[in-house]
Symmetry: C2
């Protein structure tokens, strides 16, 4: 056996064990009895410890020195394994296990604190998480920027400075758009009572419209929607708010985007480092283009309006155009996951600045709530009325996901680029979407982005699909055009 073959065989088992850990995470959020949290934390810590030991197995040094890849896919696999090994060997196994144990219980603490609107109940745990993440970042950064070291885990190649510069270019145009739109009369919102069971029927129908492969997935409820797994088993979750059917519908479409990416990856890449979405930013570009550029388009809105009428009868919205305007209503809101396309990136920029300050040590955890609320008032013009509408709204920090938030906006930027290229390449797209036929769009994304998995770097993945380097321009053009038109600016 060659060094390359030995390394890939070893890595294949690690990939399989990693998939098990991911499935366990799904179970924790969907099926697990709540009382089992402590036990599960110990099980997850054992899995993480075992995976860490494999990823830092000292045989890697020799394998990586000698391995010769036979093709591009092999070279890309070696690149991923070398990167993972280099990162993993920097973090002591005790720290990796402590983080896994802590973040497993911390999610439950967060969920209860959010339920109870009790920031104090979460702060001691959050302090522990941040302390361990800073420790981890210090091992990874080796003297460099702590926050950059964490971003790199989710978006290889991205840095806080380049992201911050891009956010700086985006902000004036978003703010200008926001102010113009908010000066207009607001379209009517859909309101009423939409029972959970009917929403879930609709969610399944809409997931099917987007080509979700039920033979390789399933839909369950979770506090915070997510997708999990790949290859032949990629599951999605959603949530239901009975007064707001769009929370469930668009959470579902969003997760179908993530899951479709995983399910579309070349089966030859299964159980290799190429068998996953290449970065969080590229992943998010898929969920966002499904959710927004396709799912909230005027064309698809026609189809969704008919589906809503079939499920709920007359729900108080008279025309497809009214419906389109109601699903693209722009208003300052507390909740990131419910934000419209104009405001969404402002939510992210705020979290980006706050978590960068937390990790760099420029902001104390005790001051976080005040800092959040001050910034929110400044950016959105509204005072946060309760913690679940403020700093307790997102699961991320309890999971130790610092450096993850900016990838959402990067995903939007990539989605903007892909949408421009897709619309140039696929004829008759809107006519098909109006009939609920997403196959042209999904097919283009599958062929040009999704099937390649981790073959190229994140940026190169987008460049390959679009034929040009990614930039924020197409997203901003799209937003100005769409909302200028919808609001007759």
């Amino acid at each position: 056996m060659t060094a390359f073959a030995e390394l890939m065989a070893f890595n294949r088992q690690t990939e399989a064990l990693g998939a098990v850990a991911e499935r366990l995470g799904w179970d924790q959020e969907t099926m697990m009895p709540e009382t089992a949290a402590e036990q599960r934390a110990e099980e997850m810590a054992a899995m993480e410890g075992m995976l860490h030991a494999r990823r830092t197995d000292p045989r890697h040094a020799n394998w990586l020195a000698k391995a010769e890849a036979p093709d591009d896919a092999g070279r890309a696999a070696l690149h991923h394994i070398r990167r993972s090994y280099t990162r993993a060997t920097k973090v002591p196994v005790d720290l990796a296990e402590a983080l896994a144990r802590l973040t497993s219980t911390a999610q439950r603490v967060w969920a209860r604190a959010r339920e109870a609107e009790d920031v104090e109940a979460f702060l001691p745990t959050l302090k522990q998480v941040i302390a361990l993440k800073r420790e981890e970042a210090a091992f990874l950064a080796i003297g460099g920027d702590l926050y950059d070291a964490l971003i790199d885990d989710y978006e290889p190649g991205a840095t806080a400075d380049t992201l911050g510069e891009m956010f700086g270019r985006m902000r004036p145009r978003l703010v200008a758009l926001r102010e113009k739109v908010l000066a207009c009369p607001m379209p009517a919102a859909v309101s009423g009572h939409f029972p959970q069971a009917a929403q879930l029927v609709l969610a399944r129908d809409v997931a099917s419209d987007f080509g979700y492969d039920w033979s390789r997935g399933r839909l369950d409820l979770a506090v915070h929607p997510f997708s999990s797994g790949g290859n032949t088993d990629s599951r999605i979750t959603t949530r239901v708010v009975e007064r707001d059917p769009f929370n469930c519908i668009y959470s579902t479409i969003h997760e179908v985007g993530h899951s479709s990416y995983e399910l579309a990856i070349d089966p030859a890449y299964a159980f290799t480092p190429l068998g996953h979405g290449v970065s969080m930013g590229v992943h998010e570009s898929q969920s966002r283009i499904y959710e927004n550029q396709i799912g909230r388009s005027r064309a698809f809105a026609q189809h969704l309006f008919a589906r809503m009428q079939a499920q709920f009868g007359d729900f108080g919205t008279a025309t497809a155009e009214d419906f389109y305007r109601s699903i693209n209503r722009v208003q300052p809101g507390f909740i990131r996951t419910e934000a419209d396309e104009v405001h969404y990136n402002l939510h992210i920029m705020m979290r980006f600045d706050l978590e960068r300050a937390l990790i760099r040590g420029d902001l104390a955890v005790d001051d976080l709530e005040a800092a959040w609320n001050d910034r929110f008032l400044a950016d959105f013009g509204v005072a946060v009325d309760r913690p679940s509408h403020g700093m307790l709204q997102d699961v991320h920090w309890s999971c130790g996901l610092f450096g993850y938030f900016p990838t959402y906006t990067l995903g939007n930027v990539y989605a903007g680029c892909l949408n421009k290229a897709m619309r140039a390449a696929v004829p008759g797209l809107d006519a098909a979407l109006a009939q609920g036929d997403t196959s042209g769009a999904a097919g283009w994304l599958r062929e040009n982005v999704q099937r390649h998995g981790g073959l190229r770097t994140p940026r190169d993945t987008i460049t390959h699909a679009c034929g040009t380097e990614p930039s924020e321009g197409p997203l901003l053009d799209y937003l100005e055009q769409k909302f200028g038109d919808a609001y007759a600016l």
Copy 2:
């Protein structure tokens, strides 16, 4: 750190990883998309390979040589670890992985073959399973009996000869009882249509009657009911046949018995070898005493009759006594899991003889269906009418569970012993059961059997609870008394 502490710390992680593998097995039978079977097989094989590597870690030799246990629980833990290490080191890792991979896919092959009533579709897979199990048994037996080597995995200390002798003593009394009962007029069966949703409501209520702790468990549907996990997360599954509510009810009570055992074990034993039911036979004694000696008693039948009326209204059974007789109807049937208490052990004895012959090489797989059908006709007086009523009815062989079947009858024998001791010890038991109050019975079992987990050997566990050595006498006395009375023999 002492050798004992080092060994226990290592073992604790192995226990946690083993719990993950068990949870994955639950997912496979309840939640997993069917198309994911191949992928899951590779994941399970990686888990099994990793667990096998840990259980055979060469550091055990030194730890076991030097470890000094501080107390009885420590000595029992060392006994289990030594036994597991000795067994595991006998089986090559490649074989363990191949078995895990094969049996994972074989279950799907079996399920499809059963659905299609197609024995031929299952035979090639079954041949592979048996070939690998014979190979495994040869490594374990080191010249001894192949089938004994497999039994020992499920019931340490039991052998085919002693079990066969006990079965030989039981058979004449069971046959005599069966013939007397079948000569009587058969009580009316409950018939009708009992919708799945209502059955599941009833199943949950009855599980609650038996004290199932929903904060540490859950109930789902599966092809073949099972329980899974322990400590703070022990889940049960059931199945629904809409023309027969007792399939669901008694499957549920049975699995509640298994799960209650796991959930009752002293929390101090969690993540140690003492934190599981000590053997399949003792485990089955708990599920059987819940299902039969308690759940099918005349007293509990009064309560269950009221629950059935509340759920289904008048379902055609007039009195509690008629109901009692209908849930204790004796008739030759094809399906083991639906068999009455008089016939059940005859189903087991048949499987015991057939699988012993398969493993010893005295019966070819191609001849199995004929052998099964001949034996069934001889023992039950009825010809098997289709494979799902015959050799395709049980999941066990597809999972590689050879040597497991006899532990069911051993469980019945143990349940007979425990029932005798429990009734002597708990006053007013029937009066409580008639009100649906199982706390006296469950409390006695928890205190005398369940909480001890793996502290004693299987036989000693029963002897400790009963004050006498286990034997088949109490079970046979109980059956003759119960059915003699119910049928007025």
